[in-house]
Symmetry: C2
Subunit: 332 residues, 2 copies
């Protein structure tokens, strides 16, 4: 494994760079891929990832945090990249046995993944908060970058459909994301953790990962004090839409039904419009910058190779983003 | 699989026999082996097993009932007979991952076994009692005989040692049963379940399995109303001691330190003395009946092949016991 992280113990000026702090907002898979690239390029103390917990839910009596787990597994290089969730080389013996008992089997919990949820649930029950539990799990897997759940309190993303309101996982997994979405909203706390606010307060730069704005990023932005802090520092987003399509997940359909008036299409521009004045810079797939040709100045739009198929792609995109941020004066 | 259970739908007199009810008191492995034999020979509605729950404990936030599980897995023909606990062909992927997180790994929970504990814990939390949960789990594994936890409330077997008091599993598994035992006692309820009392009320015969009297059978006998009901019907015990040794587990050492005055030896006779006037009949390994040569009449002692190495041994011992009970007029 190559380690090209900035070494902050040298005395040649690198130290100053390593004091820069970057906050990265993320959901699951797409966001985790760019995080992997950033994690390779930055010193551990430079990178804080604030992760959506709106998808969190209880299953088999266990507390499950899908986006935190995807981030953690990806940064630890143990994620199943092909399948897009869970651990590589995973087995499903417990799930098969749960089926024998007639227990709920619609959510695919692997055997090693179960260990994560068992320890999380047990440690939460013992009185640790989700931030502390996440730190412990990350330590176990050797993840040095800081992963922060957006909040320590329940905050569930709810999906309204024409036939009723569903929990996010019910809608995405059990209903396979098929029912049309008429509204996305949060049920629960609007308080971020103290660590989230402190990380934003000391950040030179905020990067919004190529995650679903509705169900991954908006839940973070909706927490009290987050938008205000983002307004005070440069914010760069990487579009999760590439040439009019979502790389993964239900975003394209959501943009078509939930997009602002006149922007109901799956496009990088719809994503940028969704974030609005919050964004200083939007990084889009090469060619997609043409969608913005007739727009006024905000946000600045830059093209890059954003489709991350490999770890090399992730690192390359992370490098492009950091270089761009440096050129714009946001990052030293 | 052969099925030589009594068919209660024939009209040739078998029907009358199938209305007989047998209650079987048991702990884990040894008791489960004889239960397997009895289950082969009796119709499902004839056999009710009352199972020790004094070993139950919480681990990884899950409710674990070792003796109930051993009984259930054995009757379902999915137990690991070699190892003496858990499921045959089990994997331990979750346990390995728990170790990465620094979680407790002293108790060997397999992946499929986890499904049992997850569903038990979830169903208990949903409001079912342990009797109902056990019935559901048994249904899932196709166990037709009735397994009853001795109680639905917590009742923990505690082990006093010269260096302090330990939970039973801590003593047996984490401490490998090594600290000398100065006393065994129960912490928790003294109330059996209503189903346990009802089963005893309608039993023609009670058989005490070849389980550890101190930590498997005494916890059942200590519950209110159990001894009184046993006094009103024939009680037959099968000795867990064979030629002065316990087939499995820590019983021999316990008999040596806990035996009644003058009986501090690992022998079938010490076991019979421990049960005292409760017993009508004691079935011992061939040759061990000589230990009782100079005793007065109670209990009646009979010799049989009690060491169950195979399923055929289990069935053969069950047949011997039922034949004996029939000859004594306890069973039709």
């Amino acid at each position: 494994m190559t380690n090209d992280r900035t070494n902050d113990r040298t005395d040649d000026g690198t130290e100053q760079r390593s004091e820069q702090r970057l906050v990265y907002l993320s959901g699951g898979v797409g966001g985790a891929r760019l995080a992997h690239g950033l994690n390779r390029l930055l010193a551990p103390q430079q990178l804080t990832c604030i992760v959506n917990t709106g998808d969190d839910f209880a299953h088999w009596g266990l507390q499950i945090s899908p986006d935190l787990d995807t981030m953690m597994y990806t940064l630890a290089d143990v994620a199943d990249e092909e399948r897009g969730w869970g651990l590589a080389g995973e087995t499903f013996a417990a799930l098969e046995w749960v089926k024998r008992y007639g227990g709920p089997s619609w959510f695919g919990l692997g055997d090693r993944d179960l260990a994560t949820h068992l320890m999380r649930t047990e440690w939460l029950r013992s009185g640790l908060d989700l931030t502390e539990v996440t730190q412990r799990l990350c330590s176990g897997l050797g993840v040095a970058a800081r992963l922060l759940p957006m909040t320590n309190e329940p905050c569930a993303t709810m999906i309204d459909t024409p036939s009723g309101t569903l929990d996010f996982q019910r809608w995405l997994v059990a209903e396979r994301g098929l029912p049309p979405v008429t509204r996305v909203w949060s049920r629960g706390t609007d308080q971020p953790s103290a660590q989230v606010l402190a990380a934003l307060d000391t950040a030179q730069l905020v990067i919004i990962g190529p995650s679903n704005p509705y169900v991954s990023i908006d839940p973070i932005l909706a927490l009290q004090g987050v938008r205000e802090r983002l307004a005070q520092r440069p914010v760069l987003a990487v579009s999760p839409i590439v040439h009019g399509r979502a790389i993964k997940g239900p975003l394209a359909g959501m943009l078509e039904t939930l997009g602002a008036h006149g922007q109901r299409s799956a496009s990088a521009r719809s994503v940028a419009q969704h974030y609005g004045a919050l964004l200083d810079v939007c990084v889009v797939e090469r060619g997609d910058e043409r969608e913005f040709a007739h727009d006024l100045e905000r946000p600045k739009v830059f093209a890059a190779d954003t489709w991350m198929r490999t770890r090399a792609d992730s690192r390359s995109l992370a490098q492009s983003v950091l270089t761009l941020a440096t050129e714009l004066g946001y990052w030293a």
